[in-house]
């Protein structure tokens, strides 16, 4: 077990800690047991989700989407060992007013288009889940990702991006504009997805 002080993030489902794997700096994501759930059910859910997340990361990586490498998976403890990514969330970099902000937003759109083109959706696409690492971007947290080429699932991804930009950078609509430009240029069927995003927006759900 990693030590308490190495905790990076404690989410609703998992704890993320700093760790080491074969001498490499790593990040360990462990889905913690939920005592409200029946133990057998809880074990099954955590095992299945751990397996799915690691498989989707491997698939994304194979499709050329920049994601952390999966170093090890232990389904019995619902733990994934990931390559540590040096960098900061895109949200933080944008808040600081980085000079290359627009280029980063456009790149973000290209990466999401590539993910969607590979038949995957992220499920929690906020600017906190994209890290600016060196000259590039890395997409993290595939905990809600799915295999899907469904226009609805893709639209939900883009809708969340839009809402994130609106709430964190309401005064900079060009951030989202650049994101869309990058997405459009990199996914042939992007028009359909954008139309669906508009429809989802009009349904007015707030998640």
């Amino acid at each position: 077990m990693a030590q308490r002080d190495a905790l990076i993030f404690l989410g609703a489902e998992a704890e993320v800690t700093r760790s080491a794997y074969l001498g490499l700096e790593s990040v360990r994501k462990r889905r913690v047991p939920k005592t409200y759930r029946h133990k057998e059910l809880d074990d099954r859910i955590r095992r299945e989700r751990t397996r799915a997340e690691s498989q989707l990361l491997v698939e994304a990586n194979a499709a050329g989407v920049p994601v952390p490498r999966v170093l090890d998976v232990d389904e019995s403890t619902a733990t994934i060992e990931l390559q540590a990514i040096e960098g900061e969330p895109l949200r933080v970099v944008l808040e600081r007013g980085a000079a290359n902000a627009l280029a980063l937003c456009r790149r973000f759109g290209q990466i999401v288009a590539r993910l969607h083109g590979a038949g995957l959706v992220h499920g929690d696409l906020t600017t906190s889940n994209v890290l600016v690492s060196g000259p590039g971007l890395v997409l993290v947290d595939f905990g809600l990702a799915q295999r899907s080429a469904d226009v609805e699932d893709r639209g939900v991804d883009l809708h969340l991006v839009e809402r994130t930009f609106e709430s964190t950078h309401p005064e900079r609509p060009e951030f989202h504009g650049e994101f869309l430009a990058g997405y459009r240029a990199s996914l042939p069927e992007s028009a359909m997805v954008l139309a669906r995003t508009q429809e989802i927006k009009e349904r007015g759900r707030y998640t």
Binding site: A12, L41, L144
Partner: protein, 334 residues
């Protein structure tokens, strides 16, 4: 201010009478409920509406008697504007309109889902909670954020209570089947495999009903199937509530809706809340189920904030959404 509230969204016709005790505290003077129980099958909206029309006058009388109040002592009338079954809602609205016109008192329409949350704030120590609202027709996670009540997660198909009732009905248990499933589940112990569907912040239940029926058909003990059905479906809604707590940063969780009467669900939500350091609140059962007191209390809050529904525009809205509500009474809070 003494407010009379009429609830009629689905199978229950309810009349409640409330006053404000200490500031922000609801005092329930009366809470009469009459439930339509279909002879067979599920609720037929027009048959339920006929039931409501039949019992309306006697339920009103019973509420006034319980509150030891005369009609002239009522200061305002509130009614459930939606969401719900059209014919049922219209029956309640008609009764409310008639009463308001006859007494010459103001009328106000309120949102049924938000009323479940407000009665919790009015009768427990919850101040700014996340509501886990589980009933026959509804399964939603609601909280106040950025000036409105918003839905953070919900069912993608049927309400959780509907899934339980439907399973029970297929097994020959009379409506409402949820309490019978709960009783049978106490005799179960083996966890059988059922679909657990959580998609992000949302849940789905239609698959679990079908799969549970298949287990019975395969010869599994009914007690074990009921046990597994509860364990699986309740864990899924509890997980969604947990995700919403993490996302909204709220520190209190409140239960509402008829399925919140289930002790196993309540235990799961309480366990989750304790693990997260959040406070757990559950109003008494007569205020968890559909009832007129919650409508009256939400009406009182709305009236105190200056809201009125003119008689001429006192319609119903079957698809009244939680985030359409002008929650003027919460302005300036969180």
């Amino acid at each position: 201010m003494r407010v009379l509230g009429i609830e009629s969204t689905a199978h229950t016709f309810g009349v409640g009478i409330v006053e404000e005790g200490e500031p922000g505290r609801c005092r329930v003077l009366a809470n009469q409920r009459r439930m339509h129980v279909p002879a067979s099958g599920g609720i037929h909206p027009r048959v339920a509406a006929d039931h409501h029309a039949e019992v309306a006058a006697s339920t009103l009388d019973a509420a006034l008697t319980e509150a030891k109040s005369t009609a002239s002592e009522i200061d305002a009338i509130a009614y459930s504007e939606g969401p719900g079954l059209g014919p049922c809602l219209r029956t309640g609205a008609t009764a409310a309109r008639t009463l308001a016109a006859r007494l010459g008192r103001p009328l106000v329409g309120v949102n049924h889902c938000v009323s479940h949350l407000e009665i919790g704030r009015g009768t427990t120590d919850a101040r700014d909670p996340l509501l886990l609202y589980t009933s026959g027709g509804n399964t939603q996670v609601i909280a106040y954020a950025r000036g409105r009540y918003r839905v953070f997660g919900e069912t993608l198909d049927v309400g959780i209570g509907n899934a339980l009732d439907k399973f029970a009905r297929e097994q020959g248990m009379p409506f409402p089947g949820g309490p019978k499933v709960e009783a049978l589940a106490r005799g179960g112990s083996r966890l059988l495999d059922l679909p657990y569907t959580v998609k992000g912040m949302d849940v789905a239940f239609s698959g679990v009903t079908t799969a549970a029926q298949a287990l019975v058909a395969r010869g599994e003990r009914l007690e074990d199937v009921c046990f597994s059905l509860q364990e699986t479906a309740f864990a899924a809604v509890t997980e969604v509530a947990e995700r919403a707590l993490a996302q909204t940063g709220k520190r209190e969780i409140l239960m509402g809706g008829g399925v919140a009467c289930n002790e196993r669900l309540a235990l799961m939500v309480r366990t989750m809340a304790e693990a997260r350091g959040a406070r757990f609140h559950r109003p008494e059962k007569s205020l968890l189920v559909d009832n007129g007191a919650m409508i009256a209390w939400n009406g009182l809050l709305a009236l105190a904030a200056g809201l009125r529904t003119p008689l001429g525009s006192s319609t119903v809205n079957q698809r009244y959404r939680t985030d359409q509500v002008e929650a003027a009474w919460r302005n300036g809070t969180h």
